[in-house]
Point group: C2
Chain length 248, copies 2
């Protein structure tokens, strides 16, 4: 079996997430169709994660693999060839031959997400699909101090969607920071892995902690509780973007 | 007659331009409907220009005027009230009582547009609706020198859509510049007024002049010709954004 590693950018607004679902428009499905047209054979497509409806990506990694020998297409010709047949809201950024044994999800050493907040009472048509409109003023320095409380190797069970069945909820967060540019606040979250909805619950909890005048010690207490109900709201999907996936 | 001056931001992608047309979704029509809901009376809506399908705005100026006395709504409450009923792709940025005799178009002293080019062979889903994808490399310095040739009080007949019936085609361009940020190039055009499609023809001609290795003297020759066929292509509407309108 041979295949290609594809790095994708997509605007998640009009997709029902990554993963194929009967009758739904998903990124995996449109990529599989595009590959079939370009390769003349239908590959299996494996993704680095299952992004939810409305979540965006700038560096999603997928593997297109063939049960028989892969068609002999130079990797460099794949981005223009696939982009010519893919819809406007998804593009192949780069392509390479897959290293032996590569798996987009299990080979990943970490991921980086950016979460965008528009901190204003005023709607903005241009960031509507990409940012959470949060009207209460977030102080950048207080927020960044709160974010720092998430950094380290910790049990993030309180920041996992209720009902998720994962047993090992310890993750190492390398960075969680907030940076303001005008009305926009950009959260960067980098970790060895994330639990289901973890970034969105971290953002929602950090924002609430900030406007409630609480500090990092509140986050530490929520972490210790290991209870989803102690954490804050889940920030909406549309603010989230998978920026990068790290491999060795 | 009394009224309100409204400054609007809108994403033009899903609108058939500004002006009311039977059976079409236009910005003027959705604003008129929103005003009727908020004021309880249907105002006349006048705009600062007729933007085309797909053109965006961050500072479009409109006047909502009433044949009888205007409803007594404080101007400061209009942005939240109107934004609550307007669709996601249009927002009221600010509102004020209209000065006596104010007309969004005839009172305007000038306008500023920004035109966005993505100078790459690679499609990008996030700028797809806001930028012209231009694959041939544009040298920033050469381009900016070409742009400078448009600045001044000149006859812009060659840069007006064919078939336009305007007689006085002399306009004063205060600024026309190009600035690169990574793969993106932002053209800024500021003038006392613009002819139909003028910014888009200026951008298309500047880009072609640049990749053809010609200089500002080519633009000067096109201006002297006063002939649309001597100028270059009309850059697509989706890259254009009305940034500001200037009044005394």
């Amino acid at each position: 079996m041979e295949g290609y590693v594809l790095t994708l950018a997509y605007k998640g607004t009009a997709f029902r997430g990554w993963q194929v679902q009967p009758g739904k428009r998903t990124v995996q499905a449109v990529l599989q169709d595009a590959c079939e047209r370009v390769f003349g054979a239908r590959p299996d497509i494996t993704g680095c994660s299952r992004t939810d409806s409305g979540v965006h990506a700038k560096g999603f990694v997928a593997l297109a693999s063939f049960k028989t020998e892969a068609p002999d297409v130079p990797a460099g010709s794949l981005p223009p060839a696939l982009n010519a047949v893919l819809p406007d809201d998804v593009a192949v950024v780069s392509a390479a031959r897959a290293p032996a044994g590569f798996h987009p999800r299990y080979s990943a050493k970490g991921k980086e997400y950016v979460y965008t907040v528009r901190n204003s009472r005023l709607r903005d048509p241009f960031s509507e699909e990409f940012a959470w409109l949060y009207p209460r003023r977030l102080d950048e320095e207080a927020l960044d101090r709160i974010c720092k409380a998430f950094v380290g190797k910790k049990d993030f069970r309180a920041f996992m969607a209720a009902g998720s069945k994962i047993k090992d909820t310890v993750r190492t967060v390398y960075e969680f920071s907030a940076r303001r540019e005008g009305d926009m606040i950009y959260f960067t979250a980098r970790a060895d892995g994330f639990l289901y909805n973890m970034v969105r619950i971290m953002v929602g909890t950090a924002a609430e902690t900030c406007v409630n005048g609480l500090g990092p010690e509140h986050i530490e207490a929520v972490l210790r509780s290991r209870s989803r109900s102690e954490a804050g709201i889940t920030a909406p999907a549309k603010g989230l973007c998978l920026n990068k996936v790290f491999y060795d």
